[in-house]
Symmetry: C2
Subunit: 206 residues, 2 copies
């Protein structure tokens, strides 16, 4: 009987092991159909917690400069599709954006581990690039308060990041969406279709 207990303990631990692969978060039961472009894009953005934020480099002769950042697009179950960021001006990204707002955020499905054995560059593993303007939010505005709550809820560690590091809240004003989630090239998807899509059919989308 004792051995049986061990057996079941390991069965549980085994599956917990795999669950840990998904960034410690439960994913929505299944990803949207690949032909539902707005649903897929919103799922991809809401399920991910980080991406690469691109700006035009001041220091490197106008080169495109990508930086690893965390983001949130809303509270769990209430995502908006708009990515918010908590950036320090000690980093080039925030400084670049304050000079030239042109920016993009790129997110891969690969780290979610929901594309089977596909190569990260394969169109079977979805990728999305939201291009637009990286805008500083006015401190203490309603939107900044909302964004801070969304960010700190998804990234609790941010609450204790040093106040002296001049962290500020930015958002990406999306002007173009490039998403590939299957063969056949980028999926046609307007910003309006993306933003207006209702996420409520996903129980968990923090």
């Amino acid at each position: 009987m004792e051995n049986k207990g061990f057996f079941y303990s390991f069965l549980v631990l085994f599956f917990l092991g795999f669950q840990g692969c998904v960034d410690g978060r439960l994913l929505a039961d299944s990803k949207p159909d690949r032909d539902a472009a707005a649903a897929y894009a919103r799922w991809l953005v809401s399920q991910n917690s980080w991406g690469i934020l691109n700006t035009i480099s001041i220091e490197l002769e106008g080169s495109p400069f990508g930086n690893v950042v965390s983001f949130s697009d809303g509270l769990p179950g209430k995502s908006t599709g708009v990515p918010y960021f908590y950036l320090t001006t000690l980093d080039p990204t925030a400084r670049n954006a304050l000079k030239d707002q042109r920016s993009s955020l790129t997110i891969s499905e690969y780290p979610l581990r929901t594309c089977g054995n596909a190569d990260p560059e394969s169109p079977v593993c979805a990728k999305i690039t939201l291009t637009g303007k990286l805008v500083l939010l006015e401190a203490n505005s309603k939107e900044a308060e909302f964004a801070q709550t969304a960010l700190f809820t998804k990234h609790p560690e941010m609450k204790v990041w040093p106040k002296g590091h001049d962290f500020r809240i930015f958002k990406l004003l999306i002007e173009d969406i490039f998403m590939i989630n299957w063969f056949g090239g980028p999926k046609p998807l307007t910003v309006d279709q993306y933003l207006k899509y209702q996420m409520n059919r996903f129980a968990i989308d923090k």
Copy 2:
């Protein structure tokens, strides 16, 4: 005895489950000391299989455009630090680079799952941005042959990607390195120090 067999089977499966988290690859036993900047940077690049490749967008008014790509910096155990790519001109990234070579490749330690519970934006989870020129290699040149072998070894799926899609081999000529792998800002690291670093102390760095 049979139960014991089950017990050990699950013990093995349990650890295999966790191992699967590391992109199906075995990582080098331990990451380099965080103060060994060149070693750390080369480790980060060689251990990762994908990143975000950034170019200046032709179609989106010069915006910085990030794209999810796979790369390789050499054969297993013989990494060079130079990232090679297999890009189709059906994608904006290759087309952008053929017009304006300014580019950067951004890689995060986060998907390697070697930064504990740190947030993806935390300096405890390393990030590197290699900035330079994205250069098309001459077809059938020795370097192109070397790069193709390195790419196809790390990304076997590439071998069967459609020939009609005009895949070409590019490399990033690195001109600047921005790496954060701990508190205290970017680590001082020259391109020369990075490229000349000998990786042979890592047994596995494919």
